[in-house]
Subunit: 129 residues, 4 copies
DNA sequence: GTGGTCTAGACCACC
DNA sequence: GTGGTCTAGACCACG
């Protein structure tokens, strides 16, 4: 479970976990049918309350990404390829839109935005591939 | 005051206003020394509480973007060109970083991200320049 | 044993099985004295735990629908015709009451409910008789 | 707030409340934009924990029926007429389907089901109109 | 062992 | 005042 919590972040604990777990699922790093850690296990692992993990699992179940069976455990749900692709890029697209929106507010040109984006890419992706 | 509030957004009111007012200042759309509307005027205009506007002015004053003169009103502060340029692109860069970070989580390649970014640019900037 | 488990359903496993087995008995599809599969046979058949089947047999025995003879197996009990008729329609009536109750909550008229019911009947019973 | 809790029921508290509140909204008994009681008020009213009410509000917000604004309160969301109609009859239709399904299990004829349904209607709707 | 519900109580952010 | 998050801890139902 490569999930990392940033204590400093203003983002709610449950939200940080949700984002990362969702990413693991929709990017296929967790396969359909895979059994997740029990809420108690994950809580211990992430050093947070059971309730918080439970909320995460429940939210993702409501989104259709997880299935929980009482007495059994929590599993990655069957997701249609379409939905999966959509999910996967939705969050990224939204974030990109927010960034461009921010650029529009300060009257960035297309060229300026593109240059900034390249710089960020270089900085963030170096050493990764 | 081209400031627009999105009722639907989950973002706090004060934050939406701050972002837009800050952008107006650091992009030079509001010039140094310009007089801002009074707190209650702006509150009326945006249909929000004076407390909210007060907080916005206060925050931006703390950042050094605004200056309040007792009994006269609130003005755009004098900002060094360097600081201004930095300020201007900071928010955009941050947003772009968040987007790339989101992309990394779902294992986007550099090419995929670049393609998405171009699409977003085309969609958001069309008809604007 | 025409018993089908719906993995997707939120209803507990044991409950799904109970409902269907009970229906087989009170509708006479399993006759008095008929020998049921052993617990482990049925468990294997339904791909579920023996604990679950054990619970089902136990519950139905407590209701007087099954009878277990040590070392021989589990049989359909003798049930009076009266009790049988009552049992048979009880579950249906209860379900209908719940539906009408749901209708009352959203202020359905009698006509609206009747129309909906006819539609559901048409949909669910077509091609079956 | 005509919401009634049945202590005896096996149904979870939060679920009972959700069902009734949802019905009030989708049947138009609570109009768009209406301000709901604060979570603390409703908790006191229903003699349950704040957490339970909060969960209800949150679930209904996730369904798009409510909107909460921090520091302000919780409101009935704007719902398209289409969605509203669909929502309104969905729960009822589902319940009717379950009932007919139960009938099929015990081999009820169409006539038998219709007769039972009429009886239930007579019993449940008398004195109401 | 698993998940599901509910509690009391605390602290924070927003308006 | 409002909602939002998180905690510890209890008890129940399911397999």
């Amino acid at each position: 479970m490569p999930i990392h919590i940033n204590e400093q972040s203003a983002e709610p604990l449950y939200y940080q976990i949700e984002v990362q777990l969702r990413a693991l699922i929709v990017s296929g790093q967790l396969e359909e049918g895979a059994l997740l850690p029990s809420i108690r296990e994950l809580a211990q692992l992430l050093k947070c309350s059971v309730i918080t993990v439970r909320r995460v699992y429940q939210d993702l179940e409501n989104e259709g990404l997880l299935r929980t069976k009482q007495g059994t455990g929590t599993y990655v749900a069957r997701i249609e390829q379409n939905a999966m692709d959509r999910f996967r890029l939705d969050a990224v697209t939204e974030a990109l839109e927010a960034a461009v929106e921010a650029g529009k507010l300060v009257q960035c040109t297309r060229e300026e935005l593109t240059k900034l984006f390249q710089e960020v890419l270089d900085r963030k992706l170096e050493g990764e591939r």
